[in-house]
């Protein structure tokens, strides 16, 4: 009943208020350590608008009430929008250090892990802007060639390099696109979750236990269950309400 009241109150606010004033209200609640109310407000805003700062604040509020899973979920959301945001990265790392599961991903070839680390720091927009910039340089070269500022040899060399860059950038963009839109991941929000070998709630089919805050990848879903895979390759089924999808 208390929970219901808490959830109705900000809703009525939200219908009449702009996201800016709601955001300020949420910040006020946070500063005055009323984290539950702050969470309600931020969640309300996030149903219509998004911003990395909003997710930072929401994650902080969740952390302050001790909901590590939801906090990590929120930071991950923010990181998707702005992967190079210092505050979000710091807080995400900080909270990640407090979760119980330690999952060691298998060692990749170092170039692959290097590539993945770079990709994680870039958004699709960055890649799009990069290829735009390369096109721009190509245009300048084209004009310079036309007015005989550059010799044929230099032009062809530059053009080869730039074309190679554009193509590789395009491939990376495609990879990133798949990463963002095709892969579905989530964060465990219940304190402890049984992962089962099949989507049936039975005593003997528990495969392993995972705890709040662990990030998982979702492969398929089926009537209330997600089939998940951990970073180290462990697979199983988990009830939908124990996971929040990113």
């Amino acid at each position: 009943m208390k929970l219901l009241k808490l959830s109705i109150l900000p809703l009525t606010f939200a219908l009449s208020q702009s996201p800016d004033s709601l955001y300020q209200l949420g910040n006020n609640y946070y500063v005055n350590e009323k984290y539950d109310q702050a969470i309600n407000i931020y969640e309300e805003i996030s149903s219509r608008f998004e911003h990395e700062d909003l997710y930072l604040n929401l994650g902080n509020s969740y952390y302050k009430v001790g909901a590590l899973g939801n906090a990590i979920w929120s930071y991950e959301k923010g990181q998707l929008l702005s992967p190079r945001n210092n505050d979000i990265n710091y807080n995400l790392n900080f909270v990640r250090n407090q979760i119980r599961d330690r999952i060691i991903p298998p060692d990749n070839f170092f170039l692959i892990s290097f590539y993945r680390a770079i990709i994680e720091k870039l958004t699709l927009l960055d890649l799009l802007a990069t290829s735009g910039l390369i096109f721009f340089i190509l245009g300048i070269v084209f004009i310079a060639k036309d007015f005989d500022f550059l010799s044929n040899r230099i032009t062809s060399l530059i053009n080869t390099i730039l074309l190679f860059l554009i193509i590789s950038n395009g491939i990376i963009m495609l990879d990133k696109y798949w990463d963002v839109f095709d892969k579905k991941s989530g964060v465990v929000i219940s304190v402890e979750s049984n992962v089962r070998s099949s989507p049936i709630n039975r005593g003997e089919n528990i495969v392993f236990l995972i705890h709040e805050g662990t990030k998982i990848e979702i492969i398929t879903e089926e009537s209330g269950w997600y089939e998940i895979v951990l970073l180290d390759g462990k697979k199983g089924w988990i009830p939908m309400n124990e996971v929040r999808t990113i």
Partner: protein, 568 residues
Amino acid sequence: MYKLIFILIFSSILFAQPTVSATVDINRISQSETIGFKILATNVDATPNVDVSPIKKNFKIVSGPAQQTNIQWINGAMTSSRSLSWTLLPKRAGKLNIPSLSVKMGKNTFMTKPIGITVTKGAGRGDMANLFIEVIPDKRKIYLGEQLTVTYRLYTKLNLSIEDIEYPKSVGFWNEDLRGSQTPRFKDTQMNGVSYKVATLYKAAMFPTQTGKMMIAPMTAICNVEKSSRRRPRGFADPFFNSMFRESQRQFIQSDSLNIDVIPYPNTPPNDFTGAVGQFSIDSWVDTNNVKVNEAVTLHVKISGTGNIYNFNINPINFPQNMEVFPPTSTIKRDEFRDEITGELNFEYILIPRMEGQFRISPITLTFFDTSSDRFKTIRSKTTDIIVTPGSASESIVSNFSRENVTILGEDIRFINTKNPKWYKRGNQTIPIWVWGVYFFSFSMFIFPSVYHRVKHQRISTVDIREANNALRLSLKMLKQENNDPFSFTASVIYQYFKSKLFLSSINLDPMTLDSQLKHKIDPELISEVISLVKLCDSGRYGPKAEQSMNSLQFDASELLKEVDKAL
């Protein structure tokens, strides 16, 4: 013969039924008197095994069991009996019952008969008045942790010696004896006009460790009370001899139990409250304010006052970084001569500074519940400054030039962002205009050279084209003007028009060249009309029809040019 006797003896034993009975020596007693309880088993050859636990409900077993064995031969028949006896002290007054006990002998089990005992309330000090223990608490209602002083006093009219004291047991209290172990000394006193001898048996300070209604169990003393001798001295009355013949009787005295109400504090304790109740003062000092690096300095913390000094600790002290702290040693010094527990609680911390500089030890606080004002009070000691001078040469070089790292005192998440962001509408995150701009601009750069070249090429011919486009308009305008020589004027206008329109190099035209130029561009009928008009202009001024056509010539020419322009 022997066999016969043997059989006789044993048959008599065998045939005699074993019996068990329970007896008491008295069944009307007062509360402080004891009962002798005896279980007698006859015709048995084993010691009976008795479960006495049912007795303990109403009686306290003071001593026992004592065993006794009797064998009697009467007229060749043997009776043997074994008895067990206890001394019992009633726990309360009223009609009590020694319940039926089960007695086990070998394989057989016998039940004794229950015995009723009447205990009169003689133990009350008004009635009994000879011997009692009075218990006096200083308060009945105390706060958690507050001192309760309980005094047990023995009042007597008789001569007695104390054999044993069972001190009160109290759950939920921290007990501290106050001058308890000395042998009691009797003093004369009067109570309600009756003179007694009184001695303090026991005095204790009790500190409750939990709230609620608490009970302190009664205290029991075992005394040897002198009885005035029943036998008259024979012959002479010599007090010395009399004392030799005095009889004494063991007597048990029990005090009342004590009910104490332990109440919680009137307001919620502050966070740094560690349980101190009473009145305290705090002081702290170091043995020297000037030390060298790596030399030890002792910080003394002294809490002195009255209260439960055994039951609390001090709050952890914030020592400066770069100072090694060893776990403190604590000593308690109690003032023995006061009923209220008073003393000093001393802590000694050994600190070893590892860096030079000036260090400050922040005041040490103690929060306690002040029983005199019923409020929480916080006291603090002075701040202590320690100046650490460089030690040996090698260390000082290191410390002189080393910068300090930022000391991390605790880690937390970073604060929220409070500025209003530029919101993205959920679900449709668009590509910003500047990205489109970059793409558009770069593509336009590819198009730019070809556009540039075409524009440059066309620029040369544009003058003629403009002329050609304006040719008709210009011609019509000119034809509307009045002129003295309409024939030559009209001809020149027509030639000018065709020169502009057909991009011809010279204005000097004649009908023949005009004809060849116009061939295949407009239909022949129109050509012949043009030719005839031009011819008319050339020759007309001298020709016969000149007069009549002069007026309409300019109009006809403009009409014709309009048609030609349409065809071209």
